[in-house]
């Protein structure tokens, strides 16, 4: 399916988040849960960027957001949001500090700490809810 709107990105974010929580709760695969969960946060931020983008610019921004490895970095996406005047609250910024997700996780094997994984998933959900709140 071709993503088109900010709402589509938000739906993807929720689906990845649900999957990550399920993988954690039912399969206890915390590394895989973190890997999938990280993409949810990425999609929440991308949804917000598109939401604040003028309609006439949306296609160009969409093309840009879906290309280039740098657009996996939350810091890069947060900077784009800052350009729209959107900033994290201090509480969300604190959560982000603990979010050390990168696509490099795919090179890892084994397991990760359960408490750390639950914390990461709480951050992902908090960012999803923040993005959803900004868009309603």
């Amino acid at each position: 399916m071709q993503l088109a709107t900010s709402r589509d990105f938000l739906k993807v974010a929720l689906q990845r988040l649900d999957a990550a929580e399920h993988i954690m709760a039912k399969l206890l695969l915390n590394l895989e849960s973190q890997y999938i969960g990280g993409y949810s946060l990425e999609c929440s931020l991308k949804a917000l960027i598109l939401h604040y983008t003028a309609e006439m610019d949306q296609m160009d921004v969409l093309k840009d957001l879906t290309r280039g490895a740098n657009n996996h970095r939350p810091e890069v996406l947060l900077n784009r949001l800052r350009q729209h005047g959107i900033m994290l609250s201090i509480e969300l910024a604190k959560r982000m500090r603990r979010f050390d997700w990168t696509t490099d996780l795919r090179y890892e094997t084994g397991r990760r700490d359960t408490g750390e994984t639950k914390g990461l998933l709480r951050t992902v959900r908090a960012v999803y809810e923040w993005a959803e709140g900004q868009m309603t």
Binding site: A69, N70, H72, R73, P74, E75, V76, L78, N79, L81, R82, M87, L88, S89, I90, A93, K94, M96, R97, R98, D100, T102, T103, D104, Y107, E108, D113, G115, E116, G119
Partner: protein, 111 residues
């Protein structure tokens, strides 16, 4: 022989130097730089982090970050905490190697 200056050092600002000075009062080493207008990256190295979980390390650091100006706190969205042993020439884990590489080379492309 001259030693090349790490890329990240060029990104230090008066604000990030203030963060370093503050954190060095509490930890063995602290480095910080501005990655972009929305993000300050902080790396802390301390032997007390040895064998501690990420959460425990963050707890040790957060109370000190809380003392910084609010605008600075809001921009610190990346925090790396390492025990000295995790940054040895042959890293013990791929994770520590990749995370430190991320701090040391801000322009490192993601694959």
């Amino acid at each position: 022989m001259t030693t090349a200056t790490p890329l990240w050092e060029a990104k230090r600002t008066p604000e990030t130097k203030m963060v370093e000075t503050h954190l060095r009062s509490f930890f063995e080493d602290a480095a910080a730089y501005r990655y972009n207008p929305a993000s300050i990256r902080v790396r802390i190295i301390d032997s007390r982090f040895e064998n501690l979980s990420r959460e425990k390390r963050d707890e040790m650091v957060e109370c000190h970050l809380d003392q910084l100006p609010e605008e600075t706190q809001r921009d610190i969205v990346t925090l790396f905490t390492f025990a000295p042993s995790e940054l040895q020439q042959t890293p013990r884990t791929l994770r520590e190697f990749l995370l430190n590489s991320e701090f040391e080379d801000p322009d490192r492309p993601m694959l």
